[in-house]
Symmetry: C2
Subunit: 146 residues, 2 copies
C-alpha cells in the first residue's frame, strides 16, 4: 500500500490542528469528527457513539468522550449545553446562535450578524469583559425542509 490511495476526509484540518496541539491523528478522532460534520444535528456523546460504532465496532464510549473533549480543546468543535441533559456537540465554528424547537426538540444553528454579537458585548456594564457570547432561542420553527 503506497501513499495517497485514499483522500483525507477532512479537507485540511483535523490532522494539522491536532498536530498543532501536539496530538496525534487517530482513526477514532477522525471518525468522531466525521460524524459531527456529516450530520450537524448537535448529537450527544451517546448518539455520536451509536453513529461511530458501525464503522469502528471496537470503539468504546469512553473514547468517544475523549475524542469529543480533544476536538473541543483543539477548537474544532463546540460543546453546547442548553437545559439539563447531556452535552451536545456542534462543529459549526462561525459565531452563531442556537434555536431550540420546543415541539420537536431539535436544535438549529442560526447565523446572526457579527455586529450583533459586538453590540451585545458593548452593552455590558463597565467592569465586565466578555470573550464569548452564547445565544439560545426557544420557540417553534416551521421546518423548512418538510
Amino acid at each position: 500500500m503506497t501513499t495517497a490511495t485514499q483522500a483525507p476526509r477532512h479537507p485540511a484540518g483535523l490532522a494539522q490542528k491536532l498536530a498543532d496541539s501536539g496530538l496525534r491523528s487517530t482513526p477514532q478522532r477522525e471518525l468522531v469528527y466525521d460524524v459531527l460534520l456529516n450530520k450537524r444535528d448537535h448529537p450527544t456523546a451517546d448518539e455520536v457513539f451509536a453513529r461511530v460504532k458501525p464503522e469502528l465496532p471496537g470503539i468504546s464510549l469512553a473514547t468517544v468522550y475523549n475524542c469529543l473533549e480533544t476536538l473541543v480543546q483543539c477548537d474544532l468543535v463546540r460543546a453546547v449545553n442548553f437545559e439539563r441533559g447531556p452535552t451536545r456537540y456542534c462543529p459549526n465554528l462561525r459565531p452563531h446562535a442556537h434555536f431550540h424547537d420546543e415541539v420537536t426538540g431539535e436544535t438549529h444553528d442560526v447565523d446572526l450578524p457579527e455586529t450583533l454579537f459586538a453590540k451585545l458585548k458593548s452593552e455590558l456594564p463597565p467592569g465586565f469583559d466578555a470573550n464569548a457570547v452564547e445565544i439560545t432561542f426557544r420557540g417553534k420553527a416551521q421546518s423548512p425542509t418538510n
Copy 2:
C-alpha cells in the same frame, strides 16, 4: 393565635401563585423560595439543600428538587444551565442575561435593554418564532464589591 402575627416573607406572591396552579403553600416551598431570594448567586439544588437544612432539618434532597421544579412551573424561578454541571436556579424574572466569570466561576445577572431582546428575535430568519431568548456571556469581571 390570631391572624397577622407574622408577616409573610414573600410580599405577595408565593402562596397566591401556587394556588393559581392548584398547588399548596408548604413550609418547604416557602423556605426554598426564601433562600433563593435571599442569596441570589444561582445556587444548585445541592446548595439550596444545604441552606435550607438548618432551618428545616427534616427536609430531604428529593423535596428540594420537587420544590425547585414546582417554583419553575409556577414561573417564580428560572432554571439555568450553562455548561455541563448541575442546574442552577435564579429568582430574577426580569429579562436579563448571565455573565459567567471564568476566573471565579460566579454568575452575575446583567440587565440588558428590552429593545435588545426584541432586536435579537427580529433577526431570526423567517419561520422561526422565538418566545424566549437566553444570553450568556463568558469572561472576566472585576468584582464591583471588593
